[in-house]
């Protein structure tokens, strides 16, 4: 073994399962931040409205939801101002779904770069999660602005309590879950492309299985039970508790979500790590 110490690197067929090489990933942190910058800068170049699109998308979705679900379908929002109710749900949901769907085609979308240069592949999905985090931050500011507007001009009720301090934890959980699920799927889509179609569809369905357009309290019986198995439910519900004071603080739910997220992330990283070495042969 002493002879091996002289080598700075040994390329071998397969790494050990848990040899994640996080140190190397850390060494490439500048690259991650440059990817974030690239994603952010390049998306809005040559658009007239630029980053305003970050506001337009959730606002229009909210307005649509308001008319369809609140005015036509008359689904209650637990006495919360429907605009704020939908906007809060959409803002959070979008972060999770973007993290999930955009990391899920890491290998296919980056095959060009991955085929020519080596860098820790995890840098790409991590950068996606971070650039979406910035987007989320901006959208949360929008949410706050709209909330203030609704409170002052339309008498909307909000009831912020100390649970709001959990917000960073909620966001982190969504990031971890989105990343974990995304990289699991990214590994699978290198071989079975059908999955990416299934995924777009699946994420859409998942939104309806999450209390975004209706409060959890609106459901009952078996449906209620099924919805509480959805690991995103506690995140949305806890945020609404913290901001509007509806529902209750669901600590067991959060623990469940935390465990779920961590398991998914670890599983995802392990699978991703296995795939990244040979995916070029199948992609």
């Amino acid at each position: 073994m002493s002879k091996d110490e002289n080598w700075s690197e040994i390329i071998r067929p397969k790494r050990h399962w848990l040899d994640l090489n996080l140190k190397e990933l850390w060494r490439y942190r500048d690259l991650i931040m440059l990817f974030v910058r690239r994603d952010f800068v390049s998306v809005y170049k040559q658009t007239v409205l630029g980053p305003l699109w970050l506001f337009i998308q959730p606002l229009f979705t909210t307005i649509t939801f308001y008319f369809v679900f609140s005015r036509i379908a008359k689904i209650p929002t637990d006495n919360v101002d429907p605009i704020l109710f939908y906007l809060s749900g959409i803002t959070l949901w979008n972060y999770f779904s973007d993290c999930f769907s955009k990391t899920s085609n890491t290998f296919v979308a980056n095959a060009g770069i991955f085929g020519k240069v080596y860098f820790p592949r995890l840098a790409t999905p991590i950068s996606i999660v971070i650039s979406n985090l910035i987007k989320l931050g901006i959208q949360i500011l929008l949410f706050i602005a709209i909330a203030l507007y609704r409170v002052y001009f339309h008498g909307a009720q909000i009831n912020i309590n100390e649970t709001i301090l959990l917000l960073p934890v909620l966001i982190l959980l969504m990031a971890i879950m989105g990343l974990g699920l995304g990289i699991i799927f990214s590994a699978l889509t290198t071989k079975y492309r059908d999955l990416s179609f299934l995924l777009t569809f699946g994420i859409q369905l998942l939104m309806y299985a999450t209390p975004i357009i209706y409060p959890l309290s609106f459901t009952s019986g078996k449906l209620h039970q099924i919805l509480s198995y959805n690991p995103i439910t506690p995140i949305i519900e806890n945020f609404r508790y913290a901001f509007f004071g509806i529902g209750y603080l669901d600590i067991p739910g959060l623990i469940y979500t935390t465990v779920f997220s961590l398991v998914v992330l670890i599983l995802g990283v392990i699978i991703f790590n296995r795939v990244e070495k040979n995916f070029m042969d199948t992609v």
């Binding site: 397969k14 690239r38 170049k45 085929g115 020519k116 080596y118 042969d281």
Partner: protein, 411 residues
């Protein structure tokens, strides 16, 4: 002192459509794996050959590769297309993993399989320098310290804050290469793909390679350009069908390569008797041969033709067409042959030195009576490769043109 040691390296690829019908294979593989048995598909070996269509679904793209590169040397890796050079490069640059075996590396390795990887068209030159540098493994601080040098080297100072999609392709490549040139790795892997740019770019590229090696760093240069390998490399290894078939000095390796290449061509056909010869009732071919078998551009080339003539006329007009790989006739030439007392016609066509360009040529031969009545003709009867020997300029790409005559210039 070795900088790279490659030991028993194998890489297996699956042929055909990977994504259909493989769930069964995957499952079978997995079943074998969990029972602790050997992978059922690894046993099936097919040689890495494009000519034979094996039944095996898996092939070894490279098989049992062993070599080492010493520190400070320029090692040329040569071989025909499909010999496994690219696969070896991909494994060395960690783009894909080997199936078996290992590579030990000392020092930072940078591979220029392509310049400008990850360039984003919407970003400015400045932003792309940072992005591309980071992709190639530099930290932000390193790039910042070399930023001015990179910009100066690329010569695009004026446009550094313009999105690169507005760059001309030349500017784009110069900027991309400037970033790569400032990497300063201990080991540099260069693909010949790089050598397709214009002459100035090639000069920079190859100049950089020389710099790198003169600073005691190691270069692996992959090419099938013999002239470049001979003048740039100290040592060479020759790959053929996924295996290393020869290793030695650059000159020896090139010679070996040419010999192998020559074997795949048909520089000579001979028939012992009239009965086995090809031809018709008028003409029976005795022999056609090119001498020397693999000529250099700077050598005279002889085409020796002899045949049995059974036609009415003692004189046969023989014409040769020289066809290049694009199926274009480079030129044709003809002469009158006279039959001797044994009924045999023989003659030699001499192509002056410095006329044919480098490349593979095949011959079509036409036999006509003095009245230009066709007696017989034969296509692609022999073929041979003209090799480039060495160049005085820094340009190593193929010189344009079907022929490459040496002309007189005055200045």
């Amino acid at each position: 002192m070795p900088a790279i040691i490659v030991e028993n390296l194998y890489k297996q690829y699956q042929l055909g459509q990977v994504s259909t019908g493989t769930v069964a294979h995957d499952f079978n593989r997995w079943l074998h794996k969990i029972r602790g048995k050997e992978d059922p598909y690894e046993k099936i070996t097919g040689e890495n050959s494009r000519e034979e269509k094996g039944n095996s679904k898996y092939v070894w793209a490279i098989e049992d590769i062993n070599f080492e590169a010493r520190q400070g040397e320029v090692l040329g890796i040569i071989g025909r297309n499909g010999a496994g050079k690219s696969t070896l490069l991909k494994i060395l640059s960690k783009v894909t993993a080997p199936t078996k075996g290992e590579i030990k590396i000392k020092g930072r390795i940078a591979s220029l399989l392509e310049v400008g990887t990850g360039f984003h068209p919407e970003l400015t030159g400045r932003e792309n320098i940072f992005l591309n540098g980071a992709i190639l493994g530099m930290t932000k601080a390193e790039i910042r310290s070399k930023f001015d040098e990179i910009v100066a080297f690329s010569g695009v100072e004026k446009y550094i804050d313009t999105p690169v999609k507005r760059y001309s392709s030349g500017m784009y490549v110069r900027l991309a290469f400037a970033v790569a040139a400032h990497l300063e790795p201990e080991i540099l892997i260069v693909d010949e793909v790089l050598a397709v740019g214009d002459a100035e770019f090639q000069k920079k590229c190859l100049g950089k390679m020389k710099d790198v090696s003169s600073q005691g760093r190691t270069v692996l240069f992959v090419s099938h350009n013999m002239a470049a390998v001979k003048s740039l490399c100290n040592r060479g290894i020759l790959m053929e069908r996924g295996k290393v078939v020869f290793a030695g000095s650059a000159d020896e390796t090139v010679e070996h390569y040419m010999r192998i290449n020559a074997q795949n061509l048909k520089q000579k056909v001979t028939f012992e008797t009239k009965e086995v010869a090809v031809g018709n009732e008028n003409i029976k071919l005795k022999s056609v041969a090119v001498v020397p078998e693999s000529p250099f551009i700077t050598e005279e080339i002889s085409i020796k033709i002899s045949f049995w003539n059974a036609s009415e006329s003692k004189v046969v007009k023989v014409a040769i067409d020289f066809i290049d790989l694009n199926e274009d006739v480079v030129f044709g030439s003809g002469f009158d042959f006279h039959t001797d007392e044994n009924g045999v016609c023989s003659g030699t066509c001499i192509i002056p030195k410095d006329l044919l360009n480098d490349g593979v040529y095949s011959l079509n031969i036409y036999f006509n009576s003095p009245e230009l009545r066709p007696l017989w003709n034969v296509a692609n009867i022999i073929n041979f490769e003209v090799e480039d020997k060495e160049r005085n300029s820094a340009y190593f790409g193929k010189i344009n043109g079907a022929v490459r005559p040496k002309l007189n210039w005055t200045v």
